[in-house]
């Protein structure tokens, strides 16, 4: 190097210069601001306009939210306190209504001495879904998950324990019938026999046996009428049941829609497209007026149960389409690979297809869940007291006549927390289950 350049270049640097700090306008808050907020005149104007807008909104909202009245017995008292404190009654929230009606917004008209039952049911719900949601939860908790639907019904509605137990016994008959008989008369035969036996049990034996047992060994909780249910308890109840039942039904419908069996496919397509073509509110009208007409004369089953059935059917049609998307996205090689391993249809579905298809459809499944949970508010239209229905009931009280924003804001906030939480969880789940190399 020095040989060739020695004559022409007088100075060759032999050490590296120490690294200099970047100019102050390029780093820190200032640099970030120049890059993101004030690049060019147009962006600067947009930023300033946005800041003014945000400032204007917050200037209106923050005093309303925080210069507020928490202790009062009526809206007029709220206004008096606000006038005494800040000189005017307008522009100050009256959170006292939330403070006073808080239990009602959560539980509706559920008897207050029995609040422990929905709370316990909700706590058990967390235990029951833990093995599904979190990898660190023990699989032994799955027993709780299996027993949970019956516990839920018993805790919320009360009454004798034997009803739910006997209904659960039907599922036990189904399970043991399939496992014990399939060795002798083949899988399909065992399934048919078990289903028929379970159906007979549910239709004819559950009532008398449960009644007899309740007479002999009376274990029970104080019964609660369905019309006392309300608030977020009702929303969560309907949402959880619809979410829990719609996934399996949706999977079956999606498989039916993808199958080669013409009649099965036509039935599934017809069901899915019919349900997706009508608004939920018409299905709720069916629940409130028609479902009893469809049943044998004299049947009068519970309005909440009817609503849960219709919401479940509604959700499963949407779920079926989401799962079908996942099935269609799966490469054909996966189906052929499963076939070449010698799996039969159900084995292939269970071990190869479904785990992958469901993983692909997680975002869709969760957004369907969120949609169902939000749609539970529609039950207020057919007269059930979900949080939105309760706002009318609360306003009907003369003390709180005219209170809108506080109630709506509070309900919106709770829904936001639930739904936003679910969508964040789905992102976490996607990351956790990602097995490719990205």
């Amino acid at each position: 190097m020095s040989d060739t350049h020695g004559e022409t270049v007088r100075f060759v640097r032999e050490t590296m210069l120490p690294e200099r700090e970047p100019p102050t306008s390029q780093v820190g808050l200032l640099g970030w601001g120049r890059d993101n907020l004030f690049t060019g005149p147009f962006n600067t104007i947009v930023t300033i306009v946005s800041l003014v807008l945000i400032g204007y909104l917050l200037a209106g909202l923050l005093p309303w939210m925080f210069q507020s009245v928490w202790r009062a017995d009526s809206l007029s008292e709220c206004r008096e306190i606000a006038t005494a404190t800040w000189g005017q009654s307008e522009g100050h929230a009256c959170w006292a209504v939330i403070r006073e009606r808080w239990p009602q917004l959560l539980f509706g008209f559920y008897p207050s001495e029995l609040y422990w039952r929905p709370i316990l049911a909700f706590a058990l719900l967390i235990v029951a879904v833990a093995p599904v949601l979190f990898p660190w939860a023990s699989n032994r908790l799955l027993a709780v998950s299996a027993a949970y639907p019956f516990l839920l019904a018993w805790l919320l509605w009360g009454g004798s324990i034997w009803g739910p137990v006997m209904v659960a016994a039907g599922f036990a008959i189904l399970y043991f019938g399939v496992t014990l008989l399939s060795g002798r008369i083949g899988a399909l035969g065992a399934l048919i026999v078990a289903v028929v036996a379970a159906l007979l049990w549910w239709l004819f034996a559950v009532g008398p046996v449960a009644g007899e047992l309740a007479r002999l060994i009376p274990i029970g909780l104080e019964p609660v009428e369905s019309r006392d249910f309300g608030g977020f308890m009702l929303s969560i109840l309907i949402g959880v049941v619809a979410i829990g039942c719609s996934l399996p039904i949706g999977i079956v419908l999606a498989l039916g829609r993808q199958s080669d069996l013409l009649i099965v496919k036509a039935l599934c397509v017809g069901f899915i497209e019919f349900i997706r073509g009508v608004p939920l509110i018409t299905l709720l009208f069916v629940a409130s007026t028609l479902l009893n007409i469809f049943m044998p004369p004299g049947t009068d089953f519970d309005i909440i149960l009817r609503v849960m059935i219709m919401v479940t059917l509604f959700a499963s049609a949407y779920m079926a389409e989401v799962v079908r998307g996942g099935l269609a996205a799966l490469p054909k090689g996966q189906y052929e690979g499963a076939d070449s391993l010698g799996f039969d249809y159900w084995q292939a579905q269970r071990l190869v297809i479904m785990p992958q298809a469901l993983k692909i459809s997680i975002p869709g499944i969760v957004s369907t869940f969120i949609g169902v949970f939000k749609d539970t508010t529609l039950v207020s239209i057919i007269g059930l007291l979900d949080p939105l229905g309760l706002t009318n009931a609360i306003r009907a009280d003369t003390a709180w006549n005219g209170v809108y924003w506080e109630l709506f804001g509070f309900i919106a906030l709770l829904f936001f927390i639930f739904c936003f939480g679910m969508s964040r969880y789905s992102m976490y789940l996607e990351r956790r289950l990602r097995t490719d190399n990205h």
């Binding site: 907020l37 800041l51 099965v264 069916v286 007409i293 749609d375």
Partner: protein, 422 residues
């Protein structure tokens, strides 16, 4: 000695219906069909028995009876002496009105928000994210009743406009009045009107179409057609000679002059609302229920559309933008010629289902008292006549047909913009 030539002749056994895969699919299908028919028969027989017990067998005669209820927001002429069928038709038109208004607004807002969410300006991106998450995670019914409450509680009563020193004034050069009874906007009037066509005589689905409107649409359509022809000629000239003739002033004249001439010939003027007595008279009255429903549905759906648009734009790889830039296209043309046509392919199918959702969600009108088909056929008519089965089934049928029609139209459009693959 026997030779092994033919396989032994199979005899059909009953077990093969279950264990032989050739026959099993048939067995399953037949069983499914029988089960379905049994279920349907059971439900129908229950229904007939129950309805007979209640003493109201299925019949649709009640549709010709007098409805005897009023509908305050209506597109066609209707009074409470008209039949239930007429009321249902008014409701159907109201549903279509709010669905059309909502779809247009939701698309405009949604596309804007979706593009702005990708803005390089950090603050704008965050504001749009907050908007999207806020609307997506709160039930639409809550937004509807909230919008209604805001309109009723925060807007002034008509009486506030009265007097020498009114506390409220009409906006937009004294042409629009925002009151807690609704919004009054100017209506188009014609001094030399061509009159109306009366369609369907005296039947319940009769309605009038203004000939002025038809003439206007016709002239505007022809003008736009002519303008497009001129543009096509300009393009041909450009391809032949490389120089594009200036056409925008000709196009502008071709589109606007005939339309303005027509409006002048018809004697077009605006009828302004004015306060008379206790309320505003004249102009077009949009009730708060319609506005609340329209606003809430479009803002709610726009949040979903924004996400779809954002996803569609992000789905186009940056290589496309860079390649277009390398060809020397300007950013605006890159967007319109390269990115958007490809993004549309991704955007349109989910957009269809958002339009369907909006139309179905418009049934929540019943919560704010807007008389759409759910409010008339599924609301007052059902409660007055007690014909739950007929009304609900018909209501479902109407929505089903609406949904199928929307998806047919949008699928047609989708097939046109779809990238043609080999």
């Amino acid at each position: 000695m026997t030779t092994l030539t033919d396989p032994p002749k199979e005899t059909f056994r009953l077990g093969m219906l279950i264990y032989d895969t050739r026959y099993r699919s048939m067995t399953i299908q037949v069983v499914a069909l029988i089960a379905f028919m049994l279920l349907a028969a059971w439900l129908i027989s229950n229904t007939i028995t129950n309805l007979n017990t209640l003493g109201k067998p299925v019949q649709f005669g009640f549709f010709t009876e007098t409805a005897s209820y009023d509908i305050n927001q209506k597109l066609i002429e209707y009074n409470n002496q008209d039949s239930h069928l007429r009321a249902a038709f008014v409701g159907l038109l109201n549903t279509l009105l709010v669905a059309a208004l909502g779809c247009v607004t939701a698309t405009v807002v949604g596309v804007l928000v979706g593009v702005l969410r990708l803005s390089p300006n950090w603050l704008v991106g965050r504001i749009m994210t907050v908007y999207v998450e806020m609307f997506r995670n709160v039930p639409v019914l809550l937004w509807i009743v909230l919008a209604m409450a805001i309109l009723i509680e925060s807007l002034p009563a008509p009486s506030a406009f009265r007097g020498d020193d009114p506390s409220s004034t009409m906006k937009l050069m004294d042409s629009v009045a925002f009151t807690n009874r609704g919004v009054y906007i100017p209506e188009p009037l014609f001094t030399r009107s061509l009159g109306d066509i009366h369609l369907f005589g005296a039947s319940p689905v009769r309605f009038d179409i203004s000939l002025d409107l038809i003439a206007f649409v016709l002239v505007l359509g022809l003008s736009i057609f002519a303008a497009r022809k001129i543009s096509a000629r300009a393009r041909a000239v450009q391809e032949a000679t490389g120089v594009r003739p200036r056409t925008w002033h000709v196009n502008l004249a071709v589109i606007f002059l005939p339309t303005i001439a027509l409006l002048a010939a018809l004697g077009f003027h605006l009828g302004y609302p004015a306060l008379k007595g206790f309320n505003f008279q004249g102009g077009t009255h949009m009730r708060n229920s319609l506005i609340a429903l329209w606003l809430a549905l479009s803002l709610y759906t726009a949040a979903f559309i924004a996400e779809i648009v954002r996803g569609g734009i992000l789905a186009i790889s940056t290589g496309q933008t860079e390649a277009a830039g390398a060809l020397g296209l300007r950013p605006r043309r890159i967007m319109s010629l390269v990115v958007l046509p490809q993004a549309l392919r991704v955007i349109i199918p989910p957009l269809i289902s958002q339009y369907l959702n909006l139309t179905k969600n418009s049934s929540l009108a019943i919560a704010v008292g807007y008389m759409d088909i759910t409010g008339t056929l599924g609301g007052i008519t059902m409660n007055q006549t007690g014909r739950e089965l007929e009304c609900v089934l018909l209501l479902m049928l109407v929505y089903l047909v609406l949904s199928l029609m929307i998806s047919a139209v949008m699928n047609f459009y989708n097939n046109r913009v779809k990238l043609v693959e080999r």
